[in-house]
């Protein structure tokens, strides 16, 4: 088991291993997303209050979940790089940032589109919207910091420190904003007792959530592989790969 992880950290092994993984992940993503969208947009009944406009949640909610999840991945891989100096972890961390920012942006845009018919306005200073917005700023700051430090090793370590500071801060920001103003509907899936969402809507939502996860991992792997080639272009395996 440990040996496998050690092997995985070697760029060449990772490059070969991920090429197979991406293929299967892409297939799973397509199946999950197609079935999730079909069940969500066609089969699920319209909401008694929000009619059909609630259906944007099948994109909005998974995107919002991913925005937090990707930050965690970014911070954890950053920490791994900071502690054990594993180059691959840094590349993954770096590839996470634009993806996470995009998910956050998507959550904000879909939230805004949802908000127009629901709340009658494009933007409200609702707690969760606001903390998503701040999360977007954190992502942009992370990317800006990385871009402005020229030395790659230093950039990766500085960015990792920033990501870890963000991890401590995100819950604080989240709860302070929540406390500041709440208009957003309460959580409907993660309640500890019975979720207050109907199964016919819950299943497509979960399908979409998994589809977003597998989509994220496959795109992450593609980005990581590209960055690996860029950084390792001097090594023999990368040259062989590039001359193909």
């Amino acid at each position: 088991m440990w040996q496998f992880f050690h092997k995985l950290a070697s760029p060449k092994f990772f490059y070969d291993f991920s090429s197979r993984l991406i293929f299967w992940l892409a297939i799973v993503t397509i199946i999950l997303m197609a079935s999730g969208l079909y069940m969500g947009l066609v089969e699920a009944p319209p909401d008694y209050q929000q009619k059909d406009s609630y259906r944007i949640m099948f994109i909005h909610v998974p995107a919002a979940w991913m925005s937090m999840f990707v930050y965690m991945v970014m911070a954890i891989t950053g920490a791994i790089n900071l502690i054990w100096r594993i180059k691959l972890a840094d590349i993954i961390s770096m590839s996470c940032a634009p993806l996470g920012a995009s998910f956050t942006f998507l959550a904000l845009v879909t939230g805004s589109i949802w908000g127009k018919p629901m709340w009658g306005t494009w933007w409200v200073w609702d707690a969760r919207l606001t903390s998503e917005l701040i999360l977007l700023f954190l992502y942009l700051g992370y990317m800006a910091l990385r871009a402005s430090i020229e030395d790659k090793t230093n950039a990766s370590r500085a960015a990792a420190v920033l990501a870890l500071v963000g991890v401590v801060n995100i819950p604080i920001i989240h709860y302070s904003v929540e406390w500041w103003n709440t208009l957003h509907q309460g959580p409907t899936v993660t309640k500890f007792d019975k979720p207050s969402i109907h199964t016919s809507m819950l299943i497509p939502l979960l399908l979409m959530a998994f589809a977003f996860k597998t989509y994220f991992v496959s795109v992450l792997l593609v980005r990581t592989r590209t960055e690996l080639l860029v950084r390792e272009f001097r090594s023999s395996w990368a040259r062989k790969e590039l001359s193909k």
Binding site: A158, V161, V168, S176
Partner: protein
Amino acid sequence: MHRPSTFQACKSLLKRDLLLAFRHRGELANPLLFFVIVVSLFPLGIGPEANTLSTIAPGILWVAALLAALLSLETIFRSDFDDGSLEQMLLSPHPAAVLVAVKVFVHWLVSGVPLILLSPLLGVLLQIPEESMLILVVSLTLGTPILSLVGSIGVALTVGLRRGGLLLSLLVLPLYTPVLIFGASAVTNAAFDLPVAAQLYFLAALCVLSITLAPIATAAALRISAD
């Protein structure tokens, strides 16, 4: 050879930094002046109506304090980084986090404390009711150390860069939001005679948290920047 204890090192660092700050009095006045000017621009933009001003005053004061703190942050490590004394501090046998904490404490003494002292005056200009004046001062007293501490992480990350100033604000301002929320809402609540204990406790908790964690992160970031 006599080796000074960490406590002695902290004491001499404290003395040195205070002296340095005292010799550069003009530089210290700038963020304060900025604070005053920004606050006095708001009535000009919004109108002199006392009711409007007093409703938005807590927000204005706190945002202006945030920006003023941001402006003065660079001075924590900039000159020490440029002349190499920061590297010597990191190389010394004393824990870097402790030395960093001392430097941040000095920064708070010379930038945060004057700001706190100035705030009632600006509160008067913005028609803040007298009852909330005390809360304004208390909330700033609890909040400005957080600004210096969290800000020091950002400075430590960007101190090696030529043009780090703008980047610094991008990194630090989102992290300041909880302080702004609790600080401003404490002052607002005080004006309406509502309880403010929750906000102040929260600020105090954040303050303790940043005192314990921020110097460690700052020291780690400085080591990276000094590399």
